[in-house]
C-alpha cells in the first residue's frame, strides 16, 4: 500500500484561512479504540480528547472533505512527518511499515467547526475562554487542524495560575467539548479549491 497522495501538501497549496465557508466544515478526531463512550452512557469520554496538559495545548484533528473518514486508520509513526509544513515546501510520501502503518482499531468522533467557534463558555476559573480552530498542516497531512483554547489571546498553558487550576480548566474545556462532539453525519461540506490553492 502507498500513502494516500491526497493527504500530502502540494506546492501550490496555501494556508486555509478562517472564513464563513470554513465554519461549514467538519473536523474528525481519531481515537485509539472504537470504544468512545463513558461506561453505560452515550456521552463521549472526555479523556478520549487526549489534550496534553503539560505543554502547548492542542487538540489534533483533520478537516473532512479531501481527507476522508477512512484516512483516520493511517497511523504515521515517523515523527519527522509531524513537522509543520511551510508554504512551498515539497514533501516526500511516508513509506508503509517504515513511516506509517494501518491501524484499523481506531475510532473517531466529529466536530462542527461552527459549533466550536460559537461555543459560549461560562467563566472557567474566572477566565473568559474561547476555542479557535487553526489550520496546522504537517509534512504528511495538509488537512491537519488544531483546536486551541485562549483567554485574551493567551493560551491556557501560559495563564498565571497554578497547575491544579490549569488541570481544572482543561477538564472543564474537555467536558464542554465532548458535549458538542458527535459520531454520525450524513454528509460533509468540502472546501472549495480556491480556499487552499494559490492563484
Amino acid at each position: 500500500m502507498t500513502y494516500p497522495e491526497h493527504l500530502l501538501p502540494q506546492s501550490n497549496y496555501k494556508i486555509i484561512s478562517s472564513t464563513d465557508e470554513l465554519c461549514l466544515c467538519t473536523l474528525v478526531r481519531h481515537t485509539s479504540s472504537k470504544d468512545l463512550y463513558l461506561l453505560g452512557t452515550e456521552m463521549i469520554d472526555p479523556d478520549k480528547l487526549q489534550i496534553q496538559s503539560n505543554h502547548l495545548k492542542d487538540l489534533s484533528t483533520n478537516i473532512l472533505g479531501i481527507f476522508e473518514l477512512n484516512d483516520i486508520y493511517i497511523s504515521v509513526t515517523n515523527s519527522s512527518f509531524f513537522e509543520l509544513w511551510s508554504l512551498g515546501d515539497i514533501t516526500e510520501a511516508p513509506l508503509i511499515n517504515k513511516d506509517f502503518i494501518l491501524n484499523n482499531d481506531r475510532g473517531y468522533f466529529l466536530f462542527s467547526i461552527n459549533d466550536i467557534k460559537n461555543l459560549k463558555l461560562p467563566l472557567i476559573q474566572n477566565y473568559t475562554i474561547v476555542f479557535d480552530v487553526i489550520h496546522t498542516p504537517t509534512k504528511c497531512n495538509f488537512w491537519h487542524f488544531s483546536i486551541r483554547a485562549f483567554s485574551d489571546n493567551i493560551e491556557i498553558s501560559e495563564l498565571p495560575v497554578s497547575n491544579k487550576q490549569k488541570r481544572m480548566i482543561w477538564k472543564s474545556l474537555k467536558d464542554f467539548l465532548v458535549a458538542i462532539a458527535f459520531t454520525n453525519s450524513t454528509g460533509f461540506h468540502i472546501l472549495k479549491r480556491d480556499s487552499y490553492t494559490q492563484n
Partner: protein, 199 residues
C-alpha cells in the same frame, strides 16, 4: 416481609457504601424489608456493624433494590479506576478520596439521575457523570493534599450552562438548585458569576 438483598457483594462493603459517613466495619446484622407505610417500591434497610470495638446502626429507606446494585457497581468502577491511575493522586490518601467520593455519590444518586457513571480523568480528578433529563453533569473532584474541591460542569442540549468551583457541599447544593430549575430559570440564575445569564 423480609427481602433478600439482590446483590452480589460482601455486606461489609454494602454497609460502608450506604452511609454518608465513612462508617465501615464488620457487619453484624442487616435486613431489608418493605414497610407498608411506604410506597410499594420503597424498602427499609437496617444494618448493624462493629468497628473499633464500637457498634453502629444505620437505617435507610431505599427506593428499590436496584439502588444497592447501582451503588455497588459504581463503587467498584470508582475503585478500579482509582487503582489504575493511582499515580495521579500521590499526595492524597485513599481515605480522603474515598470519603469525598461516597459523600458526593450518595447525594447525587438521591437526585435520581437517569444515568450515572464514574471514573478518573487524566487531569487527576475523580469524576461522577450524571444525566438529568436534558442536563448532563460532570462532578469533578480535585485534590491537593487532604483537601478536595469540586469543579461542577453542566451542559444542556450541548450548551454549557455552568462551571462552578467550590467545596463538595456547596457544589451539591448548586447542583440541586440547577437540576430543580427550568432552562429559563437557569438562564436567569443570578447568584453565581459562573453562570451564563443570557443566551
Amino acid at each position: 416481609m423480609f427481602i433478600t438483598p439482590n446483590i452480589n457483594t460482601n455486606y461489609d462493603c454494602l454497609a460502608s457504601l450506604q452511609n454518608n459517613d465513612s462508617h465501615s466495619g464488620q457487619l453484624i446484622f442487616e435486613k431489608i424489608w418493605h414497610d407498608e407505610n411506604l410506597p410499594h417500591d420503597h424498602f427499609v434497610n437496617i444494618a448493624s456493624f462493629k468497628r473499633n470495638e464500637k457498634f453502629f446502626e444505620t437505617t435507610y429507606v431505599l427506593k428499590n433494590e436496584e439502588l444497592n446494585s447501582k451503588w455497588i457497581a459504581l463503587y467498584d468502577l470508582f475503585n478500579s479506576s482509582y487503582k489504575s491511575k493511582q499515580n495521579l493522586f500521590s499526595d492524597t490518601s485513599f481515605d480522603t478520596i474515598d470519603t469525598s467520593f461516597r459523600s458526593s455519590m450518595n447525594n447525587i444518586l438521591k437526585l435520581e439521575p437517569k444515568v450515572a457513571t464514574v471514573g478518573v480523568s487524566e487531569e487527576g480528578c475523580v469524576y461522577i457523570y450524571a444525566e438529568f433529563k436534558q442536563k448532563r453533569v460532570f462532578f469533578n473532584m480535585f485534590y491537593e493534599g487532604e483537601q478536595s474541591d469540586v469543579v461542577l460542569n453542566i451542559t444542556e442540549d450541548g450548551r454549557p450552562i455552568c462551571s462552578y468551583n467550590a467545596n463538595i457541599e456547596s457544589s451539591i447544593n448548586t447542583l440541586k438548585d440547577i437540576i430543580g430549575r427550568t432552562v429559563q430559570e437557569v438562564d436567569n440564575y443570578d447568584l453565581s458569576r459562573t453562570f451564563i445569564t443570557a443566551v
